[in-house]
């Protein structure tokens, strides 16, 4: 049994911001801008979601949250933009469990709100993005 506690380190992952992936993601979010390898156009604002589910390369990972897929859903998502993310950048995301709270759904079921914060830095060590994901777990939350 995984014991969840706020501030648990969920590890980090490093990934390249590739033109093909940016174009594929842009098309999926109805963005018809002409992304090019040498363009200075920042990637779509929610592009970082493409790494949210990547397995962590270091200690700790999302599966260790002990969540079963049938009972969780994405409740909220928040981004703070601190700098541009460009094609060709290499980003490192460090994630931690930043909050756990218990609440009730509209129809009185117990639910648990789990917040994962990821901080993204580029290849120059500049922090460019903070992402917070609120996962809602219902039924069997303990």
């Amino acid at each position: 049994v995984t014991v969840l506690s706020a501030n648990t380190d969920l590890g980090s992952t490093t990934f390249p911001v590739e033109l093909g992936k940016v174009r594929e993601f842009a098309a999926a979010v109805l963005d018809d801008a002409d992304y090019r390898a040498d363009s200075c156009r920042p990637v779509p604002p929610t592009f970082s979601m493409t790494v949210a589910l990547w397995p962590s390369e270091s200690e700790g990972s999302q599966p260790e949250l002990g969540l079963s897929a049938g009972t969780i859903f994405h409740g909220e998502q928040e981004f703070e933009y601190l700098g541009d993310i460009l094609i060709g950048d290499t980003l490192t995301a460090r994630s931690r469990l930043s909050g756990i709270s218990n609440s009730e759904t509209g129809d009185g079921q117990d639910m648990r709100l789990i917040t994962v914060e990821s901080r993204f830095s580029n290849q120059r060590g500049e922090e460019v993005l903070v992402s917070r994901t609120v996962i809602v777990q219902t039924g069997g939350a303990s």
């Binding site: 999926a28 979601m49 589910l53 994405h74 998502q77």
Partner: protein, 141 residues
């Protein structure tokens, strides 16, 4: 400057902008799943979705959040968002039509930013997403 972006002097508190997505389809869901890497089957496997008690697959929330970010980027320009927050308040089903609406709630002339209130409603008027954003806006003039 005629790059098509809105300028600060063109905006007032209470202004609003809206965009329509006439028909949401399973193709939107699948394309988003592939592009994002979020392969939760509840968004593409109808048999599984029905077994879980839903009438059909439904849209990944970040599809609407991503599309909304695209509309805001088209309005304010690439890289203009400073903060963006969304809360998913209802499911979006295949063949829903959606209206995305952004209202200027505050305008900060010194910081050259606007604070926006965001919502997405389906054709029944049910709100499926609420959010807010802060965008940097060019000075204009």
């Amino acid at each position: 400057v005629s790059d098509g972006r809105v300028r600060l002097d063109e905006l007032s508190e209470g202004d609003e902008c809206s965009w329509q997505l006439p028909t949401v389809t399973r193709s939107h869901f699948v394309r988003y799943a592939g592009a994002s890497g979020d392969f939760n089957p509840i968004h593409h496997d109808d048999d599984l979705a029905r077994a879980a008690g839903f009438p059909s697959v439904f849209a990944p929330g970040m599809l609407m959040a991503g599309a909304f970010a695209t509309y805001l980027t088209n309005w304010f320009g690439p890289g203009s968002l400073r903060k963006y927050r969304v809360r998913f308040t209802g499911q979006v089903w295949p063949n829903d039509s959606l209206c995305f609406r952004a209202v200027v709630r505050r305008k900060n002339g010194a910081a050259r930013t606007v604070a926006l209130e965001l919502s997405v409603a389906n054709h029944d008027g049910r709100t499926v997403l609420r959010g807010n954003a802060v965008a940097s806006v060019g000075p204009g003039g």
